[in-house]
């Protein structure tokens, strides 16, 4: 909460600084000498290049990486990665970064290239460069790289080489078992190159989609789905996931929304703004049109209560019980999107869209609410209410076995029809638990909102049982 406020202050401060800067800009004197870093393109040819280190990810199998002198594409050695089986006590996956912490100047190259093969056909989760266990400012990942048993050359293009004048993260990867089984990957001749054939850049934000959202002053969100696509000399298109710092973001109305160089969108006023981006002079496909509805009216703050009198599932006023999720995405019938991902001025709020039904689940452990008297929920319906609209709240108890199924589950629901609902303002519900007629309330584990798609967008806050 505080961090987000600070970001906003920083954004505002930056705005001031930027407006001041042009008046005090000064040229470089002839004595100015920029620090330069080695332009060494080699990462791993037949051994570690100068300065290269091995740093495995926490939780990974630390011994997954070895230098293999038997199997290699060229020269005398390759990098060998032994992906663990599921259940390997030494690590659930293999993953590491290979940094040169002295930094390199990679701005003269356009791609990282390497040869790779595996002991079986597989899909490597992530591989790329720009990961330095620090800011990861220029992180690049090729996701789901298909790999076969034959040596194949791979090209991971640099989204904008001019950014990489001081890059530490030369190479990184992360991969788990395939269908539960470990296997081996060999990678060789890892180096940056100036291919001259990496062309036709097509950057994208929001996965290339033109999105829109309603929001409020004080809400922060992040530009997602950042990619850069190139056409390689082979004619193949390749798309990499790209860190925000490769992009220059802009807002059509900075009095409504500002976007930082890290792609954090801050809503500062009422109105409409469109967020777009440019990568190395090329306009990115995709945008976010923001409609800021102005100041957000928070749900009524729950009264102070003795902790023993409250079992809170979701509120900023009380200590919450462990919750598994605020949206179970139950296939195949659920359409509901969203969950507890809205924070407005430090107030955490659940937002559901495309609602038909959705469950919050708190089964680890289940909760005994038999001593409580009421369920409290604040709901705000973000659309007009039609005569047939309703919202039902359903409680689910997992019974004595504390788990779903087993013949001891019970549930009950309370329905609120259109006459008792109003739009665009908080509806505070205090429902006597006696209204939920069910076999057990000692192993409570689920709370559903059900509209059968009559109402699609709601905000939810302050879900708790009390007495």
């Amino acid at each position: 909460m505080n961090m987000k406020t600070n970001n906003l202050i920083h954004a505002v401060l930056l705005g001031f600084i930027c407006t001041i800067l042009p008046s005090c800009e000064r040229g470089l004197s002839g004595d100015a000498d920029f620090a330069t870093y080695p332009k060494n393109p080699d990462v791993f040819i037949d051994g570690f290049s100068s300065g290269l280190e091995y740093r495995p990810f926490a939780g990974s199998k630390f011994t997954a990486f070895t230098v293999d002198n038997q199997t290699k594409y060229a020269g005398s050695a390759s990098m060998r990665f032994d992906i663990p089986n599921v259940g390997d006590p030494s690590g659930a996956f293999a993953g590491a970064i290979f940094p040169d912490n002295g930094g390199r100047d990679l701005s003269g190259f356009d791609a990282l290239t390497f040869w790779a093969k595996a002991s079986q056909g597989a899909t490597l989760n992530e591989i790329g460069f720009g990961n330095d266990f620090g800011e990861n400012k220029y992180l690049v990942a090729l996701n789901n790289m298909r790999i076969s048993t034959a040596w194949t050359q791979y090209t991971i293009p640099i989204p904008d080489p001019s950014k990489l004048t001081y890059e530490k993260g030369l190479f990184w990867y992360s991969e788990g078992p395939e269908g539960g089984n470990g296997y081996t990957i060999w990678i060789d001749e890892v180096k940056f190159q100036k291919l001259g054939t990496v062309a036709q850049p097509r950057p994208a934000i929001f996965d290339g989609q033109d999105k829109s959202q309603q929001t409020f002053i004080g809400v922060n969100s992040t530009v997602t789905g950042l990619t850069q696509t190139f056409n390689l000399g082979s004619g193949e298109d390749i798309t990499v996931a790209t860190a925000p710092s490769y992009f220059t973001f802009s807002s059509t109305n900075v009095d409504v929304a500002r976007v930082s160089e890290k792609g954090v969108i801050s809503i500062v006023g009422t109105g409409t703004a469109k967020i777009t981006a440019i990568l190395n002079g090329v306009k990115a496909k995709g945008s976010m049109t923001i409609e800021s509805l102005g100041a957000f009216v928070a749900a009524p703050t729950p009264p102070a209560r003795t902790p023993a009198d409250v079992i809170s599932v979701f509120s900023d006023a009380y200590t919450n019980i462990p919750v598994d999720f605020y949206n179970g995405y139950f296939a195949p019938f659920q359409t509901t999107l969203g969950g507890a991902d809205l924070t407005i001025n430090g107030d955490n709020i659940i937002q559901y869209t495309a609602l038909n039904f959705v469950a919050t689940e708190f089964k680890n452990p289940t909760v005994n609410v038999s001593q409580m008297t009421h369920l409290h929920v604040d709901i705000q319906i973000r659309e007009a209410i039609d005569p047939g609209d309703f919202i039902s709240i359903e409680l689910g108890d997992f019974g004595a076995n504390g788990a779903f199924g087993g013949g001891d589950d019970s549930s009950a629901r309370v329905q609120f029809t259109s006459g008792s609902l109003t739009s665009n303002q908080w509806i505070s519900l205090d429902i006597p638990l006696t209204s939920f007629v069910m076999a057990s309330k000692s192993n409570m584990a689920q709370l559903f909102f059900i509209s059968d798609a009559t109402i699609s967008t709601i905000l939810v806050d302050n879900m708790y049982f009390y007495k």
Binding site: A199, Q200, G233, G235
Partner: protein, 289 residues
């Protein structure tokens, strides 16, 4: 920039005349003219620099309109038009644009211009400076046909493809001749691959130097192929030629064509990754003798 030592030309049908090539390369490397180092025919007889905005110069260029027969004989997918959205001159360039649009029953539109009946010449140096389109199913070409095509037909009339490119192979140029007994899949062709560049990101000069007994193919300052009468079949149909006479037909006037085709047998159809519109830019077309 000298690219002579970076040639990766792969001969498929023609035995390279290594000694002659070596001589030419040596001559080229010793030459200091950076823009043209392989050609010797230097008397300009025709040039279109595309400096007048609007439609192409009508004293020089005609249009082929429509889909021809069977997609111009290749199952091409585009409908050729003379609309400015498909062909125009702007900012010193001829711009041919392939659009993805429904038009007269076709799914794509584009343009093909030709000098038939307006500029026809036997022999000489024919070249164009172009920046090419790219992507699966995109097929730009700068080429020539025999001026007697309407009386003798294709392939007897002869065809010289100075530049063809498959958009899915953005680094690979093809230079080809077609004639009686060596057309279509039996054409005499050679590719040239740019090692550190592509044909869709910068302008390149594509040309031939054509004399009575040879056609030299070059790109920029690299001569990458020579085809002579000895390379073509020697036993043409006796009704057209004397037996034991070479099927070489490049001894009469030809006209110039520039087009951007979409789909067809040579490249296959575009796919979901093919970006439209696609543009081909032509800085100039020049003919020397």
């Amino acid at each position: 920039m000298k690219r002579g030592n970076q040639s990766e030309a792969g001969s498929r049908f023609v035995t390279a005349r290594r000694i002659l090539l070596a001589t030419l390369f040596a001559a080229m490397l010793s030459c200091t003219d950076d823009t043209q180092t392989v050609a010797k025919l230097n008397t300009l007889v025709m040039a279109d620099e595309f400096d007048t905005p609007g439609a192409p110069n009508s004293t020089l260029w005609n249009y082929d309109i429509g889909t021809g027969q069977n997609g111009w004989g290749n199952n091409e997918l585009q409908f050729y038009t003379d609309r400015a959205s498909n062909v125009t001159v702007q900012n010193g360039y001829l711009i041919i644009t392939a659009q993805k649009e429904s038009y007269n029953g076709s799914s794509y539109t584009s343009a093909r211009i030709l000098t038939k009946g307006k500029f026809e010449q036997a022999y000489g140096r024919f070249e164009a400076r172009m920046k090419l389109p790219w992507g699966q199913g995109v097929w730009p070409a700068f080429w020539m046909l025999g001026a007697d095509i309407d009386s003798v037909g294709w392939p007897t009339t002869g065809e010289i493809d100075i530049m063809e490119l498959r958009g899915q192979d953005p680094t690979v140029l093809l230079g080809t001749i077609h004639g009686p007994g060596y057309s279509g899949g039996q054409s005499i062709s050679k590719s040239y691959t740019l090692k550190n560049g592509r044909f869709d990101t910068d302008f390149h000069v594509f040309g031939i130097e054509w004399g009575p007994s040879y056609i030299n193919f070059y790109v920029d300052d690299v001569l990458y192929n020579q085809i002579t009468p000895a390379n073509v079949p020697q036993n043409c149909d006796p009704e057209l030629f004397n037996l034991n006479q070479s099927c070489w037909v490049f001894n009469k006037p030809f006209f110039i064509l520039i087009n951007l085709a979409i789909g067809g047998n040579f490249v296959g159809a575009p796919n979901g990754n093919t970006v439209f519109p696609q543009t081909m830019l032509v800085d100039y077309v020049r003919v020397y003798k």
